[in-house]
């Protein structure tokens, strides 16, 4: 690589890695809770 490539490469990699790390952590932190399963209703014949 030429010196310009190396300088850009070092800066871009640092910036990109910070942005992506923050993005992944936020995606984990902010993801909605899993859907709760509905309670199972007893069958009408069993109730009698």
């Amino acid at each position: 690589m030429r010196v310009e490539h190396r300088k850009f490469h070092r800066r871009a990699w640092h910036v990109l890695s910070i942005i992506v790390t923050v993005g992944v952590i936020l995606a984990l932190w902010l993801r909605p809770p899993p859907d709760q399963p509905e309670p199972v209703q007893p069958a009408a014949s069993e109730a009698r």
Partner: protein, 347 residues
């Protein structure tokens, strides 16, 4: 080396490389499909449309991760250099796997007569203002576009047409594409699939790529910090014996460019560290039959004058060298490409 247009100049090493690449990919796709069927609940076969999306997507992501690890690994340990030689083959093949993933998604919507839903998801402006709920397919399309441009310009024809410097700028977009892909998974699969496997694998892949790049950068910086500053326009390299025979020591000019100082027996010469082909690190190569050989793709330059051996016409910059009180010194001012400059201690 340079010649008229040929799609691929096949040789044994490329055939072996590609065979291993295709074989490992086939094993991954076959193994993933088998395991998905084994893990499916009894009496319920996995939907082939969903499985296709998952297998091609995960395969492409892992391949991109491996591609991004090859560069720093080759800088840290020379044994990984064979992986670097035909990395572009791996890149083009990865594009095709990623394109199959994209096509599988479009097909999934088409089979369900839901293509308008896909279009709506991508064209609703309010979706782009969300973080959770961001249209991940847009991230995927952007990354796939970058991969397409890289695959389409991977041939040496484009390297010559665009010049190595511009070609390299274009291909550094791989890092942007990888960031888009990580977010594509984080905002997509990781939201729907609550298994800890997804964030663990995603985090491990990203951490591996990042860590290897940091280690490679530190390795390069540590070699820079050991050097002496130039005096009167000359950098002291060391005694001739400090340069391994048929190998080089790399020193840094004040402008940041690197100079490779080679020794071939008693002859010492200095050239730019940058190969004319793809800007590979010549100083990490070796001298074979009197020619400096680039470790990336084998391009050759004579130690005497930096010219490629006939019939090839490439030239690289050379630097004046001298022996001063038993110490090899190299000038920080380059000579025009192709200028003889190699020295022997008796001269």
């Amino acid at each position: 080396m340079s010649a008229g247009f040929q799609a691929v100049q096949w040789n044994r090493s490329k055939i072996v490389y590609d065979s291993i690449m295709v074989g490992l990919t086939a094993c991954y796709i076959g193994g993933y499909t088998l395991i998905a069927h084994k893990l499916a609940p009894v009496g319920k076969t996995p939907d082939w449309g969903d499985l296709r999306i998952a297998v091609f997507g995960s395969c492409a992501f892992l391949m991109i991760t491996i591609i991004l690890c090859i560069g720093p690994l080759a800088r840290l340990d020379r044994r990984f250099l064979p992986l670097l030689a035909n990395r572009r083959h791996l890149g083009v093949f990865t594009f095709f796997i990623a394109a199959l993933h994209g096509w599988s998604i479009v097909d999934w919507f088409a089979v369900r007569d839901s293509l308008p839903d896909l279009v709506t998801e991508l064209t609703t402006p309010s979706n782009y203002a969300k973080f959770i709920g961001f249209p991940i397919k847009a991230l995927g399309i952007a990354a796939l576009t970058v991969f397409f441009v890289m695959a389409a310009t991977s041939h040496d024809f484009w390297l010559k047409f665009l010049s190595p410097a511009i070609w390299k700028w274009l291909h550094m977009a791989i890092y942007l594409a990888y960031g888009l892909l990580v977010m594509h998974v984080a905002l997509g699969l990781m939201q729907d699939n609550r298994s800890p496997v997804v964030p663990i694998v995603l985090g491990l892949c990203f951490a591996t790529v990042t860590t290897l790049h940091i280690l490679a950068a530190r390795h390069a910086q540590s070699s820079e910090s050991e050097e002496k500053l130039p005096s009167n326009g000359w950098i002291a390299v060391g005694p001739p014996s400090s340069i391994p025979d048929q190998r080089a020591r790399i020193v840094h000019a004040p402008d940041g460019e690197r100079i490779a100082v080679f020794r071939d027996g008693d002859k010492i010469g200095a050239v730019t560290n940058v190969c004319a082909h793809q800007n590979g690190p010549l100083g990490e190569g070796k001298i074979i039959n009197g020619c400096i050989t680039c470790p990336w793709h084998g391009w050759e330059y004579r130690l005497d004058d930096g010219c490629a051996p006939p019939p090839f016409t490439e030239k690289i910059e050379t630097y004046p060298v001298r022996i001063n009180a038993g110490i090899v010194e190299v000038s920080v001012s380059p000579l025009p490409a192709g200028t003889p400059s190699a020295q022997e201690p008796s001269s």
